[in-house]
Symmetry: C2
Subunit: 310 residues, 2 copies
Amino acid sequence: MKKYCFGIDIGGTTIKCGLFDVKGTVLEKWEIPTRTEHNGSSILPDVAAAIGDKIREKDLDREEIAGVGIGVPGPVNEEGEVPTAVNLHWGYVNLVDQMQKLTGLEVKAGNDANVAALGEMWKGGGAGYHNVVLVTLGTGVGGGIINNGQIVIGSHGAGGEIGHIHVTDTLTHKCNCGNCGCLEQVASATGITFLANRRLAADNAPSMLRGGEISAKTVFDAVKADDDVAKEIAEEFGKYLGLALANIAGVTDPDIFVIGGGVSKAGPVLLEYIEKYYREYAFLSCKDTAFALAELGNDAGIYGAAKLLL
Amino acid sequence: MKKYCFGIDIGGTTIKCGLFDVKGTVLEKWEIPTRTEHNGSSILPDVAAAIGDKIREKDLDREEIAGVGIGVPGPVNEEGEVPTAVNLHWGYVNLVDQMQKLTGLEVKAGNDANVAALGEMWKGGGAGYHNVVLVTLGTGVGGGIINNGQIVIGSHGAGGEIGHIHVTDTLTHKCNCGNCGCLEQVASATGITFLANRRLAADNAPSMLRGGEISAKTVFDAVKADDDVAKEIAEEFGKYLGLALANIAGVTDPDIFVIGGGVSKAGPVLLEYIEKYYREYAFLSCKDTAFALAELGNDAGIYGAAKLLL
């Protein structure tokens, strides 16, 4: 009988590792550095060595290990291959095959944002649901779509690339993707800063934001302090994100939207602004869809990676 | 061994029936009227009788019948229950359970638009693909999302309700759903007529559309005749629909969009206008997604219904 499972989240600077029991309790959590030199060729051997060391340290019976789940910052196809992962300096890597050979264990892999969504569904803000959309508001906007318990990967591994949903024709500067008017440009930490600077430049309305550092954090701190200009900025943010999520609901109709990433540290006030516009734009049947904040933070990836096997 | 399967498409006025072999060849196709009186209580017994008659007529061995697949114009949950189906005058109906009792055969059911998408994936415009979005441009705009070969049903059975994706803030009249700015308001047959009338009223530019009947058909006939005003209308239609499909690609990333419904009779010229804007708005990875016209017409429902079991 299987008792244990490894969940690995490979990031551009750090690899997060977790040893779980099959019920999803994390037994041990540690990190190793990501060595990207030589086209990242040490990354998988390093992960395999870390797993081997842990098996010996804890004296685990290999027969009791369900396998190794891995999240990577790039697309992963259904064969477990990664065409390219820029942050790891990888070109094509046959990830699953290579890791199975290195570890002698069963291996499954997925894109990191999708895997994090699976983690939040399993043990985080989306626990108890099977249709979950995770929205990650960080430097960019990422996402992961879980439909009927399964990750929506899509044809090009771009399932859940919701940061590039077009939400406005009012922008003149380009998104990193080359398009103009993407959700990421107005709902990420960077996007909120953009909205704030644009609003502050529009007139001289008094605001505690003036003269200080502008960031998603200072904007939502000002919202909590009842600053009118900050509340206008939050309304604009909420309108764009609420609209995008309403449109997602018209496609996959999730049970719940789970909001994570650095911006979500603003807390429940963030959801108020998003939900207000979501409920305005959403199709009748979907107006009651639940919202929650993500709960696993940076550990969502290792939870979801482990869940790939369980 | 199973040799046959029934595919049933229940509409508001007619019930389409098909007898298929398990490879998907339609052996027999017929229709019966939909009797909606008495809360549509005759509908399922009528379907069961039609199936029973066909089994006797063809002298089929019941052991060789894989079952009965059914599409209905309303939401169907994973238990095969229909909470309500307005066009059939149905309140709650335990569809799968009731039909299994009436026929003694295995029964599966789905929403008609979703089931049509499955049909187009199996034997129509999306054949050979596993990630398909069917877009039905009729009086309204409907859709069905197939991800990894499975229908995306969603939490409220609203998966694929793409007609109510918000695409514009420029409308002042309401959609049937109560919202304002839905795709259906600008991309259905009715929506194209609205765009045409609005464009024609804007100035006196010469157009063969003036003075005649305005419909999706006359607009695209005029496009084919190189009418400049009609081409402007088609551009606006293409912009809204291309935008909506680009946003869908950022959610589920299909292999192919299949365009069906009455408006699609305009033919390949329709795809030109949609694809132009799709490729402009779509996320980098998804810009090459394929487009095709639907091929099964009104038979998509019976094909997809049969496929539910195969």
